[in-house]
Amino acid sequence: MLSPIILIPAILNGLLTGAVYALVALGLTLIYGVLHIINFAHGALLTIAMFAALFCYTLFKLDPYLAAIGLTPLFFCLGYALQRFVIGPAAHGEDRNILLVTLGLSVVIENALLYAFRADTRTVNLPYGFDVVQVGPAFLSVPRVIGFCVVIAVALALWLIMRFTDTGKAIRAVAKEKLGAELSGINVAHIYAVTFGLGTACLAIAACLLLPTYYVNPHAGNAFVLIAFTIVVLGGMGSVAGALVGGLIIGVIESLSGLYLGESLGQIGIFVLFILVLLFRPSGLFGARA
């Protein structure tokens, strides 16, 4: 059972899956870290991104990796607009209202997709969709290896943005001390919207990375998002490193528990882990102690 021939591929595959989880979680944790809201619409937004990537391929014959180049800025704008013109104004700044608004948005988006596209599951068949590369005893799917590398690159890019650009510094300022940032002349509403946009941009990239190997239907985003929530809570709300490391860990756990316990129990395992972390250590492994 514990032979390396079975274990190593499971672990490696877990890492590959975990990378995409991490990207989804990254957007969520960024939004929480800066806006201090839990974006209940994250899953629905991922689903739209997946549909967008799907249609880029079926209608325009655009390879998902190419589509990402166009979709990423598009989804950045979508996220920016959502926060600036819908969520921000509707919530009047009250925490409870933000919860309800993002929930409402998620319900609208998911069911609009359901209405427009029915519940059918769609997949794409890419020429390289089944290519594998051998790493030790494991045969790893090429698209997923590419996905892993892209995620690392995106995380690096985000880190560079946060560290060295003016906008990045403004974002960090707002996250740390909103009032002070505002008094220094930073337009907080704009920064909030930029952060939200970055979060949805991450979703667009994640969607394109998932398309070659995953299915698309109106509920697809949700499956990822509960896992993303677990990662964010585990890694610490607002911690980018936490989201990355947490994502990889969760990916491996999921892979191993799927191996030993089967699919559905594996699913419950993630939920139970989520609940346990919320109950006993909501600040996460990397988060600030409350």
Binding site: I37, I38, F40, V86, P89, A90, A91, H92, E94, D95, R96, N97, L99, L100, V101, L103, G104, L105, S106, V107, V108, I109, E110, N111, A112, L113, L114, Y115, R118, A119, P218, L226, F229, V233, S264, Q267, I268, F271, V272, F274, I275, L278, L279, F280, P282
Partner: protein, 322 residues
């Protein structure tokens, strides 16, 4: 006294509906609307008065529904006893989730998240566990006798759900005027200040959650008897968690009649949508989500709040024109 009289009046008027119309469509609409009003009132106790927003009330609805269904189908227990046990089971689940969450000090978004997670766990378990029929679901056998909590026509069902709603209205009215109600609202407004005047915040929240769960579970039990079919998505699905909070928010959060008002508005919207666009899946929820966002944005105190603001506006106009 005036408020109890209002409740009596409203209930009496609603009781007349089966005499005014013989249409099954209308009766079915009203039954479902009252069901949502009941479930919404349950949410209202914890969310409206207590200020703790749960996104997973399906956990209590589904537990009530499944317990009563399984007891009848697999153990031959009488439906009415099943109802009592179902409500108790729902209350127990509420107490457990509440104890765990409030002990850990979970509030706001974290509380919403954890309730969501609990509901999802139950849904996944129900979708694979043999006792619930897993993917196939649970079917309650047709047995059209009052002793089996089933009736030939819809009218008795209607009066029973109306009775449940009436009880919930009286309960909430009673709470509003009691010490528990004052404490619950204090906890909602400011927990530390509440503690400083002697309120055991944990106990108050737990009691609210348990009561909230019991009321919602009663709705679940009724659902099982009325529709006679359950599966994991129906019992524990997000649809009921959303409708449970939508009704009170639209109707007036933290008020006695809010959930009833809101349920009628929500369901009417659903019907209107169906008339205009046909019976497509998902569209009603799109409207509901949109209305939720709009209500939060423009009428945070719901329809009841709109009435209040309108009344104040009229009074001010009267005064300036006098």
């Amino acid at each position: 006294m005036r408020s109890y009289a209002t409740i009596a009046l409203v209930v009496a008027l609603l009781a007349l509906v089966p005499f005014v119309t013989a249409s099954n469509v209308v009766l079915n609409f009203m039954v479902v609307a009252l069901l949502i009003a009941l479930v919404g009132q349950g949410w209202n106790v914890l969310g409206g008065y207590g200020g703790q927003y749960s996104f997973g009330h399906a956990a209590f609805f589904g537990t009530g529904a499944y317990v009563t269904a399984i007891l009848q189908v697999r153990y031959g227990v009488n439906a009415w006893i099943g109802l009592a046990i179902g409500v108790a089971a729902g209350a127990l689940v509420g107490a457990v989730i509440g104890a765990l969450s409030f002990r850990s000090g979970l509030r706001g978004s974290y509380f919403a998240l954890v309730t969501l997670a609990f509901a999802e766990v139950l849904r996944v378990i129900a979708s694979v566990a043999p006792i619930t029929g897993a993917g196939v679901g649970t079917l309650i056998k047709l047995d059209l006798r009052p002793e089996a909590f089933q009736f030939q026509s819809r009218a008795p069902f209607y009066w029973i759900i109306l009775a449940f709603v009436a009880i919930s209205l009286l309960l909430v009215q009673r709470i509003e005027k009691s010490r528990f109600g004052a404490y619950l609202v204090a906890v909602r407004e400011n927990e530390d200040a509440a503690r400083a005047v002697g309120i055991d915040v944990f106990r108050v929240k737990l009691a609210a959650m348990t009561l909230s769960a019991a009321i919602t579970a009663a709705g679940g039990c009724f659902y099982a008897q009325y529709f006679l079919f359950l599966d994991a998505g129906i019992a524990y699905g997000p649809w009921i968690s959303v409708e449970a909070l939508l009704a009170p928010i639209i109707g007036g959060i933290g008020t006695v009649f809010g959930p009833l008002l809101g349920a009628l508005v929500v369901k009417s919207l659903g019907e209107a949508t169906k008339l205009v666009t046909g019976d497509a899946p998902g569209l009603d929820l799109v409207i509901y989500g949109g209305v939720l966002v709009l209500v939060v944005a423009f009428a945070p105190r719901g329809t009841a709040g709109l009435f209040e603001s309108a009344r104040k506006l009229l009074r001010r106009r009267e005064r300036t024109h006098a």
